[in-house]
């Protein structure tokens, strides 16, 4: 029992309501819980008593017997990133309207925190989990959850080999189409700023994108970048791939600085995430280059500031809110006993061309395009 300085009058239970209404506990429960048969007069009577006494259902007790908590968990990798903020908003809205509450945990891409988060959610008997795998996490804990029949929906990143629904964008395709467009604009030397995977960038990029346990969106987007170059018959120059030590703005600014300092510098840069974009933008501003005339920039995520910077920022937009809302709907469907094989849903991305991507220097204008969708 909680105690505080005042009188912590504890709440009246169903027992007391039943007594006050002169019925059995079971009847009172039926009247209040909206199940089974109750005479309407009895119901009114019980409700009145409950109201008068200030009774509220004790959901913990209810969970105890039903085995359901009406709670889902959301394990996010980086809650301060606005992209996740949108995803979370989508999840919260759908969950609430379905009668579920959401426990949020922030793993900060730390596999240890991630394991703990899953374990705790498990112990708390959540009915289902929406999960953003950390870049280098392991899925064993999650698998135990799944084995016990707790539905899981992966979001933003997938884990191959886990029988779960997933709501994703096609990162390879999205990045590829962005780079294809840069190539159309005449760019041949295109830089890539992505998270460091260690070792030879090109090889690691490919390995990582194929490695089920890594779940790196950055790697997948890097693969899209490679695919676009290859598709256009352009050479892949490892010097143009600038890995960042951490997923921070500062690291990205440094990586961009490296690219801009090359003897033959790129004429365009793709960044795989909105934080990295911010750093690259900053580095380009500082470089003194004509922007975008001498250097184009294409980022990920259509955040609200992209239209007030100069040049306005071209981006590959992801539907953050929808990703969350869709994931939550998937989960609720499972909780409502939908029983189908795990579905992988790809949501549309959109290449939004603004001012930061323009023709490569000394290039003739290609066919004009303004907005195009990628699936």
């Amino acid at each position: 029992m909680r105690a505080q300085s005042e009188t912590p009058r504890s709440r009246p239970t169903l027992n007391e309501v039943a007594a006050a209404a002169g019925v059995s506990r079971a009847t009172a429960a039926r009247a209040l819980g909206e199940y089974g048969y109750v005479h309407s007069a009895t119901r009114a009577n019980v409700r009145e008593a409950a109201e008068r006494l200030g009774n509220r259902p004790h959901r913990i007790a209810r969970s105890m017997v039903t085995g359901r908590t009406q709670t889902i968990g959301f394990v996010g990798a980086d809650m301060e990133n606005p992209f996740f903020g949108r995803t979370m908003a989508g999840i919260l809205d759908v969950a609430r309207s379905g009668g579920y509450e959401v426990i949020i945990t922030n793993t900060q891409e730390d596999p240890e925190l991630e394991r703990r988060a899953v374990r705790v959610l498990h112990e708390r008997q959540v009915d289902g989990v929406i999960f953003t795998p950390a870049q280098f996490g392991d899925a064993s804990q999650l698998r135990r959850l799944a084995d016990e029949g707790v539905p899981i929906v992966l979001v933003d990143r997938s884990i191959r080999g886990l029988a779960a629904d997933a709501v994703l964008i096609d990162n390879v395709r999205a990045a590829r189409s962005g780079v294809v467009r840069l190539i159309e604009l005449g760019h041949a030397r295109i830089g890539l700023i992505t998270n460091d995977l260690g070792g030879d960038p090109v090889a690691r990029l490919r390995e990582t994108a194929l490695d089920p346990t890594h779940a790196s969106t950055g790697a997948a987007r890097g693969v899209g970048y490679l695919a676009a170059l290859q598709g256009a018959g352009l050479p892949i120059d490892p010097a143009l791939i600038a890995p960042t030590a951490r997923f921070t703005r500062e690291a990205a600014a440094e990586a961009a600085g490296r690219l801009l300092g090359l003897r033959v510098r790129p004429t365009a840069i793709l960044t795989v995430d909105n934080v990295l974009t911010l750093g690259a933008f900053e580095a380009i501003q500082r470089s003194g280059l004509e922007f975008p005339e001498q250097i184009s920039l294409l980022g990920f995520d259509d955040l609200d500031w992209t239209t007030i910077v100069r040049p306005t920022l071209s981006v590959i937009a992801q539907p953050g809110y929808d990703i969350g809302a869709t994931a939550a709907r998937r989960l609720l469907a499972r909780l409502d006993h939908e029983d189908s094989p795990g579905q992988v849903l790809f949501l549309d991305t959109e290449l939004i061309e603004r001012e930061s991507t323009t023709n490569a220097p000394n290039t003739v204008v290609p066919t004009p395009t303004t907005r195009r969708r990628t699936r």
Copy 2:
């Protein structure tokens, strides 16, 4: 019991662990729950059995008897706003390290959703609540919670008359010091973009800031604006106060447009929130005015894009993460039976002067200041 297509082998309970270890349930509980006396050999034995069977504590059952859920609720007004994202991150970090989980609800400033959120958290027996009051919510539901001894910490906005801790910034003071600085820079006609309160702006601003049930940061900041003008002996011109119908970028852009279209337009504008700032920034860009030479802009919240826009944006920075972390620490202290009168903590804000605030047109340079703290 949950069921899914596979074999949903349900978890072994304490009973089974006890049986396997050849001890009573009570002893097993003591060994696993780290309380009471257990022989170390017994404990090892029980632990081994628990490990082998894959037993995990059933926290719902534990809550049932202890009366504590190790869960806190966070009722946020606008989870998509990056400011709340930071606050939430602070809450999550502190809560986790204290062994608490967090249920997040998003009220979207809707009083009805807010009431529901509090009721549901109550029913779910959260141990405490961190609460951002909606602008026009009512506190009755919250008061019932408090009356039952559930500790509450208010964040960002206060509700006078509620015996609860609060973690705030001094909105009046922060806004006042910002406007004082603008006045130092020679500005005499300073516009204000804030949320609409209905009726005569000046009067409503004052009423609202004093009205315990409104909890509007916008109003408090507006009062700071008025105070600064009065303190400097400047006239208050209602035409310079531009209320926005909603708390959106578009509404702010429109409001800013109105200010810029005045026959004698302001030479500086204060916006009371980062979303409104975005709209004002956009409107100024569109207006064709020299920015900041002809019009200064001062916003709230030091978001990451403020340094890449041109001119870079001067802001009144709030410590979003700290606000959350501090609120969570307050709450955990209460949950740890700290029993003191409700504390109202004011965290420091900082006026960060960048390029968007400059001397008023035709004004001699005043004493240079770069950064100053306000309490």
